[in-house]
Symmetry: C3
Subunit: 199 residues, 3 copies
């Protein structure tokens, strides 16, 4: 299970980094700016989570691999932007997997600190989504997740499924079910261009 | 006194939530986006305060009622927006009360952590005002409180009154006086459209 | 050495405050808004650093002089804006010195918490640069350091020099060398209008 999580986390980090690079390049930032946006997109959600629950120094400061993966991915993405764009579908799947895993990591961190289920779900959603929110703030856009296809809603549903299952089944099964749900909702939402209503 | 504070906190939270909903709907966010902005407006100031003084997990994660009040208020406000807009004056009064109470709660938390009076006043002002600042950042606006009628200045005056009185009178009296001052300044500022000078 | 650091920190704080005031006045904020931006520019980087490593209450809450220096500088800068603009070169030098010192303070705080060298360099860069990033976010601009002359890159180079030297020479010498490098890079970058490439 550890190895499985590790691979998903790696793919998710790569996908989040690349989305940061592409957004930043659209605004014509310099190389350093692009890399900062890539980092913020990949680690921002987890950092806000850690700060809110008081887990400091925050996770990326204790982690050798994450920052290195982001740096290498960021540089490769800048250099091979056009080529990478042809893998749009693959990147979207990585992103959906990463979103699912990061959300459940956030939920589990909340449980470890003794928070209520609804707060844990909020924490998971923050972990999954707020890297993208910070990216959009830094690039002077209104955060995409407030306007686009069902994104945070998928995290909330996934987190709820985790809590529904955790009393009945093994933690790893609850985890896989929740991540699958988040991925599934994202895939359906993007495929059929589903959006939340605007009142 | 506890009950009195509770009622004001409730009214203030409702008013802040509604202001978040109205601002977000102007930018045509989806339902989830509107609710996030509502939450951030209502709890953002207290969250920044808690993070700055190291009170983690932050307050809203320990509080059952707050998030629920915000959720219900947010949904009601989205559905009955037009109707609510006719209560503009009432909402403004709730907002002024909430601003007063949140500011003094922030000041008192600063005292509890052993900070200097001027830092406590800054902390109170952050508690009262920075939810609105985060709301404006997320909606890609320059924060209103940097441009509009005297807002933060009312918090600074109220916080100073609290410190002037606290050596001489009962804490509850100092508290009521400070909240009254903040409310009063807001009402006068809005009624006569008073602004701080732009140099 | 203590006195020397103190003078540089003072000059740096003054320069950062003035840059905040000038940026805010361009957007025609009211007096309070200008002062908030001045504070955020001067203390924002150190505040984010403190929050990320869990050093709370954050530094400016424990420091009598800093906030007072910022307040006085901010008011003077608002009143004598035109006069101050004639000292553009002096202010730029203060800013470069402050950037160098703040970066190395951040690096040393990271070392004190036991972080790895690369994370310490990131922390130093955040300390030096993110006050300006917050200023630009609040003013609804895309952060300047992502677009302008080599800025954060200077911090990264300076931080690396500090770590290269610290095993061989006295801490104070490593410190002075690193600050000199950061200043030097900034001066050369601005003089010859050097920028990082945009891919």
């Amino acid at each position: 299970m550890f190895e499985f999580s590790f691979v998903i986390e790696l793919l998710g980090t790569i996908a989040f980094t690349i989305s940061g690079v592409f957004s930043a390049m659209q605004k014509r930032l310099d190389m350093f700016g692009v890399l900062v946006i890539a980092f913020v997109t990949a680690i921002g959600g987890g950092t806000i989570r850690d700060v809110l629950i008081g887990y400091t120094p925050v996770s990326w400061m204790r982690d050798f691999n994450g920052p290195l993966v982001i740096l290498i991915t960021g540089i490769v993405a800048m250099l091979f932007k056009k080529y990478l764009k042809t893998f749009k579908t693959t990147l979207f799947l990585f992103d959906a997997l990463g979103l699912g895993l990061f959300t459940i990591i956030g939920v589990q961190k909340g449980i470890a600190v003794g928070l209520n289920p609804d707060v844990c779900i909020a924490l998971g959603t923050i972990t999954g989504c707020f890297g993208g929110v910070l990216r959009d703030i830094l690039l002077n856009n209104i955060p995409l997740i407030f306007r686009k296809e069902i994104y945070a809603t998928a995290c909330i549903v996934g987190g709820s499924i985790y809590f529904l299952l955790i009393s009945y089944v093994d933690m790893n099964i609850a985890r896989i079910a929740a991540i699958t749900a988040i991925c599934g909702i994202r895939i359906v939402a993007v495929k059929y261009n589903l959006k939340l209503p605007v009142l």
